[in-house]
Symmetry: C2
Subunit: 218 residues, 2 copies
DNA sequence: ATTTTAATTTAAGCATGCTTAAAAATAAAA
DNA sequence: TTTTATTTTTAAGCATGCTTAAATTAAAAT
């Protein structure tokens, strides 16, 4: 195989199955910013390659081979993110885009070496779990979006979505980072925005922001 | 621009102009392992992009823009090689192939960070000079292929060609590395093979080997 | 100078990964 | 249940970067 486009499709499918329990052509198209027609096309090719189980109109699944390929892509991506962040000193809001390209261009040998240098990290800089060489995925602690918390509740950040750099820059600016404590002071029903307390300071955040920050459930 | 194929063509053209003083479609085709027709095709595209000066049958030159793009590609490649070798601990016979892919997938920011971490190296693991951010190329000391040395002459290795992994594995095995002293004990006219002394030990090497190892001229 | 060989370019065609527009299937609303 | 809206697939077409085969040009040999 070995093909940047196919690798991207597989990653998107894998992550959505993992996080949402399902995937439709629709979602793939919007995540990869291509037309629905392009997705149908590629699904056929991936099916022919034996990587995807695809029944038109019915559903999309990964085959065993497709899943293990995809899992390895996620592993590559997240190891690159940790490496860029910890060894090269790149900010957490920049590593995702860089890793998105590097993940397709590195040998397994290089990935394994970086993993060893980093002493086998279990989570990437945004809290996402890193599959081991054998494919085992560390369990994420139980968590829910900040947007689900009620007034008065508080908890620690355990994961943030990493696909939008501007989002990461913004939340860094108000002090959000992994393991930081956040308290919901006020929640407004008309637009779902909320006032939160971070390091003693109050901040107003939109529901869009709150939906992409995840809080550990105690 | 930004395109793996075009970047590879530019690098090959630049290196050949730099090292041999000229370049023909022929050479490009063999270095990139594509047909001559593919080269003609691509030369037209690069000309249209304003990166190459191309007169059919007459000659190939880089424009100012093409040269600076190519120089930056060589810079990326060689900084990756040093980084992989020194930071990641990858053997000198493996870094070239890995860098050949990574060079297309990294931001200038990443390259500059790696360069800084490495304290601005001037030469890559095979002795090739690394262009600075501004494009300045460190001067290589005067040198000639080992194959040109006469019986009794000796000198230190200053550079080796890095494009064939097996070649590097082989010469490593007989003790050839940068700055190592080599003495020519015997030179056989019928096949240009020679017996050389490395670290006190005699070795028989073919002219093909000797042509790819470069010795500093005192 | 003529012939032969080698290098280069042109021509036609193929696979990949997209696009837009139209058709078909499914899901949602009335 | 019937109509409407949404999603998905099919169809046709385009750019890219290759290929092989044929034609052209340049270089080398006689
Ligand atoms: Mn990421
Ligand atoms: Mn991440
Ligand atoms: Mn190299
Ligand atoms: Mn090198």
């Amino acid at each position: 195989m070995k093909n940047i486009s196919k690798e991207d499709y597989l990653s998107v499918i894998f992550k959505n199955l993992d996080e949402e329990g399902g995937i439709k052509p629709n979602i793939i198209a919007s995540k990869l910013v291509v037309s629905n027609a392009a997705v149908t096309d590629m699904l056929k090719k991936l099916a022919k390659d034996g990587l995807v189980d695809y029944k038109p109109y019915k559903g999309i699944q990964l085959t065993a081979e497709g899943e293990s390929y995809a899992r390895n892509m996620v592993r590559r991506h997240r190891i690159w993110e940790v490496f860029l962040n910890e060894v090269v000193g790149m900010a957490w809001d920049k590593v995702h885009d860089e890793a998105n390209r590097l993940e397709h261009s590195s040998s397994d040998d290089l990935i394994n070496r970086m993993e060893e240098m980093l002493d086998y990290p279990e989570y990437d800089p945004h809290g996402d779990p890193i599959p081991s060489k054998s494919g085992r995925m560390p369990k994420l602690k139980k968590h829910r979006p900040l947007s689900d918390l009620n007034e008065g509740e508080s908890g620690r950040v355990i994961r943030v979505n990493d696909f939008d750099q501007k989002f990461l820059v913004y939340i860094s600016g108000i002090g959000v980072k992994l393991d930081e404590k956040i308290t919901v002071k006020e929640k407004r029903s008309f637009d779902k925005s909320m006032e939160v307390i971070i390091k003693g300071k109050p901040w107003n955040i939109s529901s869009k922001i709150a939906k992409n920050v995840f809080i550990e459930v105690k």
